[in-house]
Amino acid sequence: MDILNQLIGGFAVALQPINLFWAFVGCALGTAVGVLPGIGPALTIALLMPVTAQINPASAFIMFAGILYGALYGGSTTSILLNTPGESGSVMTALEGNRMARSGRGAAALATAAIGSFVAGTIGTLALTFLAPAIAELAFVFGPEDYFALMVLSFTSVAVVMGRSLLRGFTALFFGLALGTIGIDTQTGQTRMVFGMLELLDGVSFTVVLVSLFAIGETLYVASRHASAPPAINPLSGGYWMTRQDWARSWKPWLRGSVIGFPIGALPAGGTEIPTFLSYALERRLTPHPEEFGQGAIEGVAGPEAANNAAAAGILVPLLTLGLPSTATAAVLLAAFQNYGLQPGPLLFATNPDLLWGLIASLYIGNLILLVLNLPLVGIWVRLLLIPRQYIYGGIVVFALVGVWGLSTSWIDLALMCGLGLIGYVARVYDFPVAPALIGLILGPQAEIQLRRALAVSQGDWSVLVGTPISASLLAIAALVLTVPPLLAWRRRRAEEAEAQPASAG
C-alpha cells in the first residue's frame, strides 16, 4: 500500500507538464540515438550532462530514463531494417528480424519488437517498483565491508562477463581503477597521481573518459575502416501489420523474455546481452515452428526484444538501491546522480522520494510515449539513416567537443580527450571492453572508501572483510565468478583432447 502511495506521488511528479516535456524529449532523443550508428544511450547522457546544471534533478533523470528506454526501441528498428544492431543488446533481434524484413514482413517484425518492448518494459518497471524499495530496505543493514564485497563482486563479474578474455576485461578494469586514483584523496586530502597539474586535482572527469573512449575511439575506428559501403535499407513497402497468428505467436515470448530479462539485468554484471541470447535459445527450443528459425521466425524477434527491455529495467535495481552500476549506461547515470550531489542507495529513497518515484513513474509514461513514437512513426526514424555517415561522425566529434570543453573549458580536458580517444581506438581494434574501465573509474574510489572505512572501524584487522555473512558470501561468489569459467573451459579442453586422441589413433 505504501508503495502504491509513493508511486502515485511519483506520477504526480512525472505528469507535470514540464516533466512530460522532458520525458518526450528523452524518448525522441533516445530513439534517434538508437537508430543512428556510433552513438548509444551512455554517450548521449554523458554529452547532456552539462545541461543538467540548468534543470532540476527530477526532470533530468526523467529525460535520461527516456533516453535509456528509447535507445532500445530505436536499436531494434535498425537491427530489423538494416541488419546493423546499434547496440549489443539488439544483436539477436537482427538475426530473425532482418530475415523477416527481407521477406516483406518488416512491419510485423517492427510491431512485435515495439509491442514486446512495451510489454516487457512495463513488466520490468512493475518489478522494479515493488522490488527496489525492499532491496533498498535490505541495504540499510549493509556495513562498509558488505559494500566493499559487493563492489568487488561487481568488478570481477564485469571484468569476466564483458569482453573476449579475462585478461582484456581485467586490463580495462584496472585502467579505470588507475584513472580513479587521480586527484585529491577524499579521506586525507593528499594529492595523488596529479603529475603536477592543478587541473587534475578534482580527478579525471567521468564525462571526458566516457566521451573519449566511446565517441572519439569509435570515430577514429570507423574513419580508418570506412571503405566498407553502408548497408542498404530494407524498404518497409508491402508490409503487413501483425496478423492474428503473429499475435498468438508473440505474446508468450514477450512474457518469457520479460521473465528472463529482468532478474539477469538486476545482477551486478547482468547487462542486456546475455538475456537476449538466453531468450533466443529458449524460443528456438520451444517454438512449434523450428523450421522458421533462421528464416524469420517472429518468436525470435519478440523474445529477445522483450528480454532486452526487461533487463534495462533490471539494471536500475542495483543502481537505484545500492548505487551499483552494471553497464556503461548505468555508470553514466550514477555519474549524473553524483553531479547533483546525490548518492543512489537506500538513503535516497528516504531523502528524495519525489525524485526516485518520479523517475520510476516516468518509466511507465516513457514506455507509452515510445510505443506511440515508434509504431506509427517508424518511417521517420529510419530516415535518419539517410544522413551521410561523414556528417554523423563529424557531428559526433563536434558534440564530443561541446561535452568536454563545456565541462570547465580546460585545455587539459581536450588533451585527455585526444589521448583517451587513441586508447579507445586501440581498445576497439584489439577488442578490449570499455564498460569495465568506466565502472572501475566510478566505483573504484567508492570501493576504496568502503575498504578503508571497514579497516578503520576494525582497527586494521583484515578479517573484518569476511566478518559478516553478507560480505563473506559476496566475496565467495566473486571468487567463484573468477575461477569457475576458466575451470570449465579447461575441463572442456581436456574432454575434447580426450575425445580427439582415440579418434586420431583409430
Binding site: T171, L177, T181, R192, R225, Q390, V402, L451
Partner: protein, 163 residues
C-alpha cells in the same frame, strides 16, 4: 611441414607487444607515484598510498601478461572479414580533427574550432566538398555555442581573437 606453416601464419599475425609495454609503464608510473605519497601514520587502517600501490601492481602484472600473450601470437586484432583493411590517411585525418582543438580552441574559439574539426573528420570519411563541410561545421558549432550559452554553459568566447 604443418608446424612450419603454422609458424609462418603466426608471424604474419601482428604481435602487439607494445600494448602490454605501455600498460606496464603505466603500472610503473603508479608504483612510483605511490612511493611519493607520504603515508600518514596517525591514520588507522589503510593510507592513501595503498590503493595506488595495488593498482600499480595490477597494471604491471597485466602488462607483463599482455606482452607474453602477444609474443606467443595469441593476441591478434579483431580480424573481421567484412571490415576493410585500415586506412592510415583516413585515420590520421580523423585524429587531426580530434587534435586540432588543442591548438585552436583558445585562440579561435569554439565555433571556428568546431568548423575545423568537423571538416577534418568529414574528409577522413571521404568527403571532398571542403566548402560545404566548413559551412556545415561552422553552422553546427555556432548553433551549439549559442544553444549551450543560453543554457548557461560556457564554451568560451565566440571569437576570442576579436574579443
Amino acid at each position: 611441414m604443418t608446424g612450419k606453416r603454422q609458424a609462418e601464419q603466426r608471424d604474419r599475425r601482428s604481435k602487439p607487444w607494445w600494448m602490454g609495454l605501455a600498460l606496464a609503464i603505466m603500472g610503473a608510473l603508479w608504483l612510483n607515484g605511490a612511493r611519493s605519497i607520504s603515508s600518514t601514520t596517525n591514520y588507522i587502517g589503510l593510507g592513501p598510498a595503498a590503493i595506488v600501490l595495488a593498482v600499480g601492481l595490477g597494471l604491471t602484472v597485466l602488462g607483463i601478461l599482455l606482452i607474453l600473450q602477444a609474443l606467443r601470437g595469441e593476441f591478434a586484432a579483431v580480424a573481421d572479414e567484412a571490415e576493410a583493411p585500415p586506412s592510415h590517411p583516413a585515420f590520421l585525418l580523423a585524429l587531426a580533427g580530434v587534435a586540432v582543438p588543442l591548438l585552436t580552441m583558445r585562440w579561435l574559439g569554439f565555433p571556428l574550432t568546431a568548423m575545423l574539426a568537423f571538416a577534418l573528420v568529414t574528409h577522413a570519411f571521404g568527403s571532398r566538398r571542403t566548402g560545404l563541410d566548413l559551412v556545415i561545421g561552422f553552422a553546427l558549432g555556432s548553433a551549439a555555442w549559442l544553444g549551450f550559452s543560453r543554457l548557461g554553459i560556457s564554451l568560451g568566447g565566440f571569437l576570442p581573437l576579436i574579443g
